[in-house]
Point group: C2
Chain length 404, copies 2
């Protein structure tokens, strides 16, 4: 008998009929002798509808009151799912985040889980019930309702799995797992059976939006075996995200991630003196703009060029900031470029295999793809290239690293 | 400075725009120096929408889970109203029934309030805030969410007014008060400035559906001054429902109530022996059918006729029950009649004025209206007449008792 936490997202329970389908799936798992804790999101579209109501009043609704409204979305689905389960003979009981003591900090709209009291859930499981819990929400120490922010239901699922020491946390969604790369770019991309937490974090942060990063971090920290799988398939296998020790064999490369949401800013001819990087990046960070890759070229005649990337939305704002500071920095010119993308090889096998970077550069050279920036970590090599060369680069790398 | 509890029903807050209008009304009351606790229902139609979702799954949803779903209706409106208040500069905070400790029994879908913890509300009022509270809902001792049943928001308002010792509980609705009778039947009907709890209870139980009976009982028990008034008027006066002591002068008759939802059943020629009333009514009551008026005629030759009224919906069921028991009761015949209505004069002045009944019968006799049954209480005289004579009867009585 295993204890399994299953999380169903908005599209999986987008209609009453789909909720009934999910109930039948749960019934099967239960008949196989498992204990089940189910976490659900709001029905798809519901959270946006509720935000829309609040925004009819003001564009900046009071965050506490917005959470009061938003938490109702999941509260409706837990009730409906429990009713659907009971109606097919599965004893079930639903709880809000507050009712099972999902304690968070007081950051309304983006709260973080601090602790979960598993006693109530454990008691209902012992009584033979399927326990249905509202994702995305909790309660702070003063008893105010809070939400965890977009995608927070994944985090609820993982946090519950950790608190209950569950055997597995299954995240049901509309894709059937994590792929070696985006199948829309490489039709031969294939589903991974397993991937390590670290690799998944790199893939997720690079735009493979299967799982919320926070939930993967949480799973990694508490060693929760996490499985992504499709709600709309019979007996899906999905992809297991687990500790490295659980991976039988580490392929050199697990996947290729890429991101189109990139822009590059270059400050030309600044004096090469201590503190110049700080002088350039301080006003950017003060404006809450996140900087990704940073390159500072070799100094030539006492001046240097400084380049960094930001997400494309922030490009114009960053450029304006740099221009107002250009004189005091002593810069010759400030340039921006929205025509770039980032492509990354991800794989824990990289650690023990030298020459991955060289092989990557060779493949791209053979394809005539020019590399504009490079950055590396232990398990990832990222390059910035022109947007028009994205497909060619990803396809050739996917073939060259035996991912098909 | 007065402490006022205001309750706004579903049509008063049926759209975001109406919620904003209500916020402006509240702001005015606050600027006059009042402390305000606001109770709101779900937006009109929302409770039915939620019940509809559950009934897509089953016609008999688990009552606990149904309450889990239904309580979200009010939770959305309290958040929206608090946002609307804040957006026009009125400090506000919203609470669910659970958050302010509205403790109920465990009768899901029709729970009764057992106690309210006023500390949290009092603290927020002291902090200068308008406190917005979800009506219709509470929490049982085990922490399960409960609802009070249809119209329960009125009860929440009155219960809060009692717990906070408020100066007045104002029920805002789409009518501007309690009328001497239904203006659709008597165009000259007029709004009453004041009416006693007892009179209001008689009016309400007879189909003047301005207030829920339970909320009037509650107000009467805890001596909460209750005012019914219109959301859609500027500076409405409404009708004050209060203790008799507060009424300066008691008119003989306050109003004329009537009900079309009536049917009559007659058991002819039963033996006139002890226990016959019990024998007839026991199976009716076992079937959960409520009996209103009861008449047993003078015995003739050892047998008697027994007549009683039920609501029209229950008539066929009651008839079938009587027929199956007719032989064992020794009854000659059982008849039913759905063509009747009940008309009642209500007034606490009746107690000190003899001859009200005689005058009523005289007026109806002059109009040629035949009286089929009569029942009286200290402050009410009810007669059963043919349905076709309802308008004529009510109009003539309204004129004769100086109600115009």
């Amino acid at each position: 008998m295993a204890l399994i936490v299953q999380k169903y997202g908005g599209t999986s329970i987008g209609t009453v009929e789909r909720i009934q389908n999910v109930a039948h799936k749960i019934k099967k798992w239960r008949e196989q002798g498992n204990e089940l804790v189910i976490v659900v999101s709001a029905m798809s579209g519901e959270t946006n509808r509720l935000i829309g109501l609040a925004q009819q009043i003001t564009n900046h609704p009071n965050p506490r009151e917005l959470d009061m409204i938003l938490t109702t979305g999941e509260q409706v689905t837990i009730g409906l799912l429990a009713i659907a389960l009971e109606s097919i003979g599965v004893p079930a009981i639903s709880f809000t985040g507050q009712q099972v003591g999902i304690l968070t900090d007081q950051s309304f709209n983006k709260a973080r889980i601090q602790s979960i009291d598993n006693k109530k859930i454990r008691a209902e499981l012992d009584a033979g019930k399927v326990v249905v819990i509202a994702g995305f929400q909790g309660v702070d120490e003063q008893g105010n309702l809070t939400t965890l922010g977009r995608g927070g239901s994944d985090t609820t699922g993982v946090a519950l799995a950790a608190a209950l020491k569950a055997d597995e946390c299954q995240i049901y969604t509309d894709v059937d797992g994590v792929y070696t790369t985006d199948p829309r770019v490489v039709p031969k991309a294939r589903r991974l059976d397993r991937i390590s937490f670290d690799e998944m974090l790199e893939m997720a942060s690079l735009g493979s939006k299967v799982l919320q990063i926070r939930s993967v971090e949480f799973a990694s920290k508490y060693k929760v075996r996490l499985r992504v799988l499709s709600t709309f398939e019979e007996n899906p296998q999905g992809t297991l995200i687990c500790s490295e020790e659980e991976l039988m064999e580490n392929p050199v490369i697990s996947g290729i991630a890429f991101s189109r949401d990139e822009a590059k800013l270059t400050v030309l001819g600044v004096p090469d003196r201590p503190g110049i990087a700080y002088a350039i990046l301080k006003p950017i960070s003060d404006a809450n703009i996140e900087v990704d890759m940073i390159i500072q070229n070799q100094s030539v005649a006492g001046t240097t060029d400084f380049t960094f990337t930001v997400s494309r939305n922030d490009c114009d704002k960053a450029l304006a900031i740099l221009k107002t500071h250009a004189t005091e920095m002593g810069a010759k010119e400030v340039l921006s470029d929205k025509g770039i993308v980032k492509v990354s090889l991800v794989g824990i096998g990289m650690r023990s295999h030298a020459g991955v970077a060289a092989r990557m550069f060779e493949v791209l050279f053979n394809e005539g793809v020019n590399i504009e920036m490079i950055s590396t970590t232990e398990i990832k090599i990222s390059v910035v290239i022109r947007e028009g060369e994205l497909e060619r680069a990803v396809q050739s790398l996917h073939a060259a690293f035996d991912l098909e």
